[in-house]
Symmetry: D2
Subunit: 351 residues, 4 copies
């Protein structure tokens, strides 16, 4: 008899669903008891994910989503389905008394108008926007614990906000003139069928996309503005890398005064000293994707460029684990009264 808490997973065919399965396969206190997918219902989980062969979780049968059953069987439900669909399923599950971690963008944006402008769909469950908690543990753990509905942060926002948080909180840099040049592994483009994410269209090449127009822009601006205590407009510019996992964001800011690297480094180190998932690297060191592969870690490197009076922050996460499913599990841990790190203490897979 298991005494683990019980989780449901709605949507399993995408990379965030796949990563939730990987993480929960070894979680000591939380197990998946229901997996739903309209497309794959009827199959065993191991049939679509052979890497689960021989593990208990692989024997689960995928079923059609059923609100009552999910609410009855699960302490918490993860939504790994597209925005638009998630708001309705999320609201219904909350109504049924179920705790929900929504991995989509549906409850991240506080301003309904901004959401609808960037996501091009009406928000049909806007009454829950205020209640939903933005689930970035380093900033909002206290709000996440009692929450019924957590909006799990986007991958780019997670890397960006953690990287800029101490600088903005402590007023080190100007609010205007922030440029984020972000590079993501290809899992960030999803598991849907598109010619431009075929292996031979991504391998040995590199490109930018959505410069200035990516949907994560308002999410980043919202959170940075809250930290800075003033409205911020930023330039956010994503690129796609021929690697599986990881985001590296290079963030360009202008220092208000001539701070030394030592001073900036001390402020960052102090700010994150009680947050074991964030590693402020030693002075002079720069992060790289592989050092956080498969983990919840966010590695931050700092550069003070005296020639141009800039603070350049390089922030690195695993987009699937920290930037999506691992962070969702961290939020579930908090909502269920478990330790934040439970089931999440992976060592990076290097090389």
């Amino acid at each position: 008899m298991s005494e683990k808490m019980r989780a449901g997973l709605v949507g399993v065919t995408g990379y965030t669903g796949m990563e939730l399965v990987r993480i929960l396969a070894t979680h000591p206190q939380l197990e998946i008891v229901q997996v739903t997918s309209r497309k794959e219902a009827g199959q065993r989980l191991r049939a679509i994910y052979p890497f689960l062969q021989g593990m208990a979780m692989g024997e689960l049968t995928i079923c059609q989503p059923d609100l009552s059953l999910l609410a009855k069987e699960c302490d918490i439900v993860f939504l790994a389905i597209p925005h638009g669909a998630a708001m309705e399923m999320g609201a219904d599950l909350v109504d049924h008394g179920c705790k929900v971690v929504d991995l989509s963008a549906d409850f991240r944006i506080r301003d309904k108008t901004v959401y609808e402008e960037w996501y091009k769909v009406p928000h049909t469950r806007a009454h829950l926007i205020d209640e939903a908690v933005y689930g970035l543990p380093e900033l909002y753990a206290d709000k996440v614990r009692p929450a019924r509905l957590v909006a799990n942060p986007g991958c780019y926002p997670t890397a960006s906000i953690l990287g800029l948080y101490p600088a903005l909180k402590h007023g080190l840099v100007h609010h205007d003139n922030v440029v984020i040049d972000a590079k993501s592994g290809t899992t960030g483009a999803g598991r849907g069928l598109k010619v431009n994410t075929l292996f031979c269209e991504m391998h040995d090449t590199f490109r930018a996309y959505g410069l200035g127009t990516h949907r994560h822009t308002p999410e980043i601006e919202q959170e940075l503005s809250l930290i800075a205590g003033a409205a911020m407009t930023i330039s956010f510019n994503p690129h796609i890398l021929p690697v599986n996992r990881g985001i590296l964001a290079t963030m360009y800011t202008t220092l208000k005064s001539a701070q030394s690297l030592e001073e900036v480094h001390a402020i960052y180190s102090r700010e994150y000293k009680d947050h074991s998932f964030v590693r402020v690297l030693p002075q002079g060191a720069l992060p790289e994707l592989r050092n956080v592969r498969g983990t919840m870690l966010c590695d931050i490197g700092l550069v003070v460029d005296k020639r141009t009076n800039r603070l350049i922050v390089v922030s690195v996460i695993d987009n699937l684990c920290r930037g999506a499913s691992g962070q969702a599990v961290a939020n579930a841990n908090l909502m269920l009264g478990l330790p934040l790190e439970s089931g999440l203490n992976f060592a990076p897979l290097v090389p």
Copy 2:
């Protein structure tokens, strides 16, 4: 006014069509004047292939396939469409007096029954099977020159046949007990939308597929049997590599007598001395994919393993160029009275 010969290209959205476009973009004596695709008709070629931006060929408008127009405008037509469709289009074009290089499998197999068994479609233009010439220039250039219809060899067969030809022709090895373990770049899996060829499903991994059941098996057996002068059954086993281009086939045979490497190497060198596209590597050297990247070259390495009395042949080609579109151009060159190498003298792109 151009004085180049004029080619048509039927089917352009796959990797073989794309590679034909790349090769013909710099061919000094042959140019594409018609490109057809049911799916992309109406667009400029540069719209679907931005790499052609700024080149004359990029300005071509893709149109619906039109037999009369193709026959009227073109000295030769390349068919880069799926088997089944190719046999009909190919036969019709020949009826209209047009020369055809068919890159599909439709006219490669001499025995209609074998074709239908392996390809699971009826052969509706079987009257042309006998006339069609198997377009492997090193073996059949003399038959290709006067041909109206050339069956362009498959990628795996090209690498396999060129690698085993001297050994079988000169009776060095036994006919039974030939095992081919072949590894292909992912372009070999085509440009169609399938989950298992997405970047994140191929990158940093490797797998076998179709062991013992790949459709190129009867094609290889047919040609090896002709060379050996006896029916041969082989074990052909493909794998898919996380690289864009290239096939490396490791071929295991049993020597009839205790030949030295020197002797075998001399036989291979002599056999290919007048064939500039085949390079028999120095004794002790083994080929690698990149040394033939983007070219018509076939590199062959030889190993005599005295412990097991085996001759191991390693054969390497670029599956898209030598294994498909470049070989199609070579055949077209022969059919049009041009030098075999015209437009095909690329230096390998290393690294």
Copy 3:
């Protein structure tokens, strides 16, 4: 105060040392207390492996190897140093009463003459060859438990032996005519500085090496012969893949009688049913590297090719984890009275 068992690690700059560090970073019952390296002595472990930043193990200071200190401080010592050096250090540690897992080849080959012929060095500690246990847990767990000195199997032998074991044990296939075509990730080539393992010399390419002459050949033959109960000579042929981790071995054998896939599959399944690290895939399924990434798993796929009367076995492992350091930890677990799987229940990192 920790109550974990205490391990020493001699040699840390190579990929096997690096992988031991990764695995032991999260082992619940075994911890590294001493790390030695002549080259890096004096540095913190996190200085050479930034992925350990923030973890307790990263704070360890690398020191010069000191036999007495190792023997005094450690319950067990892992040797991740080159063959030749390992035999002397291993013998000395055993003399000092220390348990040893040697990741080199020095004590794998039972016949001193064969060792010296293939490894080109004299064996100076041959008196321990008989005592040393070949540490493949599925075959030799009972001998490993009481051992003082375990010879950790090579990566290619691990994949090959596990793949062929049931077929040979149950007499399904002929002893002659076994061909192993193996493909390894580039970590298998080590972390030493060589032009041909630079990124730009390996990326987007593929090659064979050491066909018929690789040093793992006699190790595979020794173990297969023991299983078969008769001397076997095999053809072993390695290739190097542009991936970090993983070995896929495609093994060609000839069936003694016309077995069905069902029968062979049943024999394999029965043989491995109590060995959770070995997964015999469902009939018709073939393994791939990523499904075992970062784990102790060995995935086996079976093909019966009736046309050629062959049994083709495809065996996949992670060369660093199962093929080296993870297997070393499994052996240490057994030698220290811990459960075999302790610290080794990783879910594969997919994608």
Copy 4:
């Protein structure tokens, strides 16, 4: 008897030497007659570069560098050796009456003090700095033609300058506040033996390096200042990609007035209309590495971000061809009275 012009190549073991060899292997009007390397002297070129097997150039014997012989045998000499060494060899060859294209940084920086500060070596041939021509054909073809000594531009500067040239020349953007976030393939890190460019240290990962301190910074500032007619200080920040070839530079500038994309695009298109190697992509399109692979092309994409009033320019080149050896051949073509494009009209190798 060849009537081609004759080139010498000093330094052949690095990637720029290797790429010169690839390009000149098919150049119709220029051939290599001397190759020198202290390290590899005595070997045939094909012995170190098997991809040249079977080509005439592969038969060349590498010799020790000999000034008189180079000057006597060659119409022009390419220097593919490290900075510091290049200045002396270059000056000596010019003294011997030989034309020189120097691929190192030694004669790029007009201000000796700046050179010595960034490159940490004294400039011992400063008398030639004024005479040397900065070999960016789109800007300086007229000066290159009569030059004896051409300083071949760096890879990052080539991409950066071509991308910003029209914007600065036409005063579209402010001179301060330019940020260049550049990403280079790993060939950019050279072919020397370093742990951090081993395959397993680069594959499936990504990192920044030298933020704000890269040696190409003063070269970019020098040329942009000349174009702008005012001293410019920029923030230049490189990253290294797990691909073989290519640089993508994302450049962030602030518009002086509210220009539309149409207007900016028209200015760029007009500026480059007679320069066939530069392709200003259609409005809305962004460049990618593969579309210039193996070529002299520079692809430029333009974004006007009205929210932040920025002009973002994305510029892409092949770092080895356009960013080094191909550009060196273009300069040699000009210096020898050949057409700029001679031997350089490659179609991009896609995929």
